[in-house]
């Protein structure tokens, strides 16, 4: 097994090196004009320059802050509302169908509406992120509560638990796997909407920075921004996966 993963690692690094090499060959051969498509070394140089003293670091932090704030807001509201609707069968019957109806609506379609109410402001971007990332959490919580083993509800009645205790002690833990998976999806959506919001409303951040770089044909800066955005997405989803595994350890052992 150890041997196998070493092989995988070596092959993986080999594949990555090959990828960068092909990228370099394509740009060196000028298959695409270097104005549009910088080679790996120019991208790396722009990345290093931007992160050490350039504007890129500040923009990265702005985007991360926006993404996290929107995501936290969405998680909080989504799980709270989901718990309130999910715990009562009657509320589910009345409210869940409308939520299902609204779900396929692209979150970005709400941007013009948000602009109409809030103008081109940081609040607008935050509201759009929170609104878009809300749905996975909200629906996962409702579904998780609905899918709870019915006998647990009976047990809670026998024990005379209050509604709050039922949510906290039974329903939330049993819905946890679905909620955690939706948190990860929500973070991906938050990053996308943070970038879109920055592009549209010209708020400081990576989205605005890469759009400006593309308009003035500074393609190395553009690619450096894309590399950072990919890294943010990668680190975010990896951290949440680790948290997921830790928080769900009790589940793996109890089965």
């Amino acid at each position: 097994m150890r041997h196998l993963s070493l092989r995988k690692l070596l092959l993986g690094i080999g594949g990555l090196v090959l990828f960068i090499l092909v990228w370099k060959l394509v740009t060196d051969a000028k298959l695409v004009s270097p104005i549009f498509f910088p080679g790996p070394e120019r991208t790396y140089a722009a990345l290093v320059k931007g992160l050490s003293g350039g504007a890129l670091l500040q923009q990265t932090l702005q985007t991360i802050q926006r993404m996290l704030l929107g995501w936290l807001l969405a998680s909080f509201v989504g799980i709270l509302l989901g718990a309130l609707v999910g715990i009562s069968k009657r509320a589910r019957a009345f409210i869940a169908p409308m939520l299902e109806l609204l779900r396929p609506l692209p979150a970005s379609a709400m941007i013009p509406v948000a602009i109409a109410f809030l103008g081109f402001s940081d609040h607008m971007v935050l509201v759009v992120i929170a609104f878009g990332a809300l749905w996975p959490m909200l629906l996962a919580t409702i579904h998780g509560f609905a899918a709870m083993e019915p006998r647990l509800y009976e047990v809670s009645q026998v024990l005379g638990l209050s509604r709050l205790e039922v949510i906290w002690k039974l329903a939330l833990p049993s819905a946890m796997p679905m909620i955690l998976a939706s948190l990860r999806l929500g973070l991906t959506i938050s990053l996308i909407l943070a970038v879109v919001g920055e592009m549209l409303a010209s708020r400081e951040g990576l989205g605005q920075s890469i759009l400006a770089a593309s308009r003035s044909f500074r393609s190395p800066d553009l690619f450096a921004g894309i590399v950072i955005l990919g890294a943010i997405g990668l680190v975010g989803s990896r951290l949440l996966s680790i948290a997921e595994r830790r928080l769900l350890r009790w589940q793996a052992t109890s089965r």
Binding site: G12, L16, P104, L105, A109, A116, I232
Partner: protein
């Protein structure tokens, strides 16, 4: 579900939306609403009729759906092919796994400026972005599906010394067809989202541009008409694909545990 049962449970589902519309209309009428950001349901309905009548809504819908469909076919087709190759070849899979894991988290909207620079505005740029956005999920789903194909079928294909093409068309593709359809179904919904996002952000085309223009022209009724229409299109596309899946792959839908 019988008609009677649908009626019985349906009134609860319909109560909230209908109540919201009525309350909004009453509030707008009572307050003599004149606003740059809000519109009464009646005005929205009137705006909807007028954009249908002048053909702009249907033209925008056709543009968006065309871009989403072509992008979807390209993205899912290319992604599934790559996924199948990776699923069949251990070496290719191990070699590309790391690179794919690094490329996958790049948010698709980050590619808008790149593709815009290369192709300018227009339907091609939108199609390319949609296809790129749908590529990685399709790779992952197809790869997982191929790895779950009954190993004995693979042994049989080795025994028969089938060529790669023959193995693909006779063994692998029939075995993973239901998963491929599911992949397409997920992609269609996501493709529409990406299409609208690209149109709102950059591309002067389609429904996303329509809703953006309505907002900038301070015509809230038209903006909400577009919004509701975009939601309805998304809902219709997903309902149609769900129905198709139930028809073509009934066993698989049950397996999904619904």
């Amino acid at each position: 579900m019988s008609a009677a049962a649908l009626l019985k449970s349906g009134w609860r589902a319909a109560l909230l939306p209908v109540a919201l519309v009525v309350v909004a209309q009453v509030a707008a009428t009572v307050s003599h609403l004149e606003s740059d950001s809000l519109a009464s349901p009646f005005d929205i309905a009137r705006a909807f009729v007028s954009v249908i009548a002048d053909g702009s809504l249907l033209r925008a819908t056709a543009d968006t759906l065309k871009a989403a469909a072509v992008g979807c076919v390209l993205g899912v087709g290319g992604g599934s092919f790559l996924g199948i190759v990776l699923g069949l070849s251990r070496i290719a899979d191990d070699a590309l796994d790391l690179t794919i894991e690094l490329l996958r988290p790049i948010p698709v909207v980050a590619l808008i400026p790149v593709v815009m620079m290369l192709l300018g505005f227009g339907v091609e740029m939108e199609i390319v972005i949609i296809a790129l956005g749908l590529l990685w999920p399709a790779v992952v789903l197809a790869r997982a599906a191929v790895k779950e194909v009954e190993p004995r079928l693979m042994e049989v294909s080795n025994m028969l010394q089938l060529s790669f093409i023959a193995r693909l068309t006779k063994i692998v593709l029939p075995a993973i067809l239901p998963q491929l359809f599911m992949s397409l179904k997920l992609a269609a919904g996501y493709g529409l989202v990406v299409a609208v996002t690209v149109e709102i952000t950059a591309n002067p085309l389609g429904l996303g541009y329509g809703i953006m223009m309505a907002q900038q022209a301070l015509r809230p009724a038209e903006m909400f008409a577009y919004l509701i229409w975009i939601g309805a299109i998304g809902w219709l596309v997903s309902a149609a694909l769900n129905a198709a899946q139930r028809n073509f792959f009934p066993a698989f839908v049950k397996g999904e545990g619904r």
